[in-house]
Amino acid sequence: MANHHDDHHHGHHHDHDHSELSETELRVRALETILTQKGYVDPAALDVLIETYETKVGPRNGAQVVAKAWTDPAYRERLLADGSAAIAELDYVGRQGEHIVVVENTPSRHNMVVCTLCSCYPWPVLGLPPVWYKSAPYRSRAVKDPRGVLHDFGFELSPDIEIRVWDSTAEIRYLVLPMRPPGTDGWSAERLADLVTRDSMIGTGFPKQPHEVA
């Protein structure tokens, strides 16, 4: 799949599109006009859908889940036993998160999540996936060379640590529970949530260290 964003969009988004994308823009505009004329879609509903995923649903949700698990051992148990139910306690529910399994990183095991066939991703806790997650490089290599993928993200994992890759081929969605960074004893869940990055919940990254948010 083509990474048009990487080719054309760095730092100069809308005003510099390739002619191919202009054609796409015209097509989308025509499609929305026709579907509205036919009464199939209500543009106001489209606005709400966009606003939901641009402003309300995103990795901040997942960070709350992780931070709660780090500070509440009983919650961590419930989260690992039934991800969807425990996540629903925080009112993160619904589309593309109907069946969530949470997988925990340990000192000897690192988890990484991919969808080699399309772009399956736990929307209620992470929002919509980034371009790289949907791209051919990630989808092709995560299952064969996960250590190399981590290298692309700037991380080297000790050879002693097993990498466990979860390919989301069904409607089960996976969320990684990263390890709590050292030096955070006594931190509140609210403060800890600032350490939890999106990539640390996919397994292509790690939480920030305390000094990075000081």
Binding site: H5, L21, R29, A44, C118, L128, A136, F153
Partner: protein, 222 residues
Amino acid sequence: MDGAHDMGGAAGFGPVCPEANEPVFHAEWERRAFAVTLAMAKPGGWNIDMSRFAREDRPPADYLSRSYYQIWLVGLERLMLERDLLRPGEIEAGKMLQQPAPISGPLAAVDVDAMLRRGGPTEREATTPARFKIGDRVRTKDIHPTTHTRLPQYVRGHVGVIELLHGCHVFPDTNAMGQGEHPHWLYTVTFDGKNLWPDAADQRSRVSVDAWEPYLEPADAA
């Protein structure tokens, strides 16, 4: 189908290139394509497996040359053309050329939140006992259907171990073709990376897929 979408293990795509501070959408047309796709599913009457098949069932060069939301767009156009909700030439004309087909009514703004919260659970009540249990060794079948399947090529014919049991879920292979949900037991099957990729640098990884029971057979003779 053995299409370009089935990318696990393919070579030559280069490194992963994360974008710092990436926005949710990169252009206004992506916002609209995303939202129209979500809003059309119910009035259009298709299911998620039909959507996936409409996106992946195209020549590899076509699939690989489109960006993500461009694939969503052609998939959506195809689903609508197949159901006569859209007429060939209408998009090029930029306006409605054919009277609308009767549909259940558009998604209203006030119903968006409830629609998203409801989602589309795929678990169904079991009517048969599970054939496999956690810890069983299974072999994935070496199937090559020309229609939709969710068994990736890189695990076909390989032996793995049942790690999780997820209940009975809608079977995409039939659901995508309009042949019914036919729920089957769904398992997480885990493979040793060194068995899947004997020549790969990393010999310590393990990889799982979620596989429905019809994809699997016992690895060891009874």
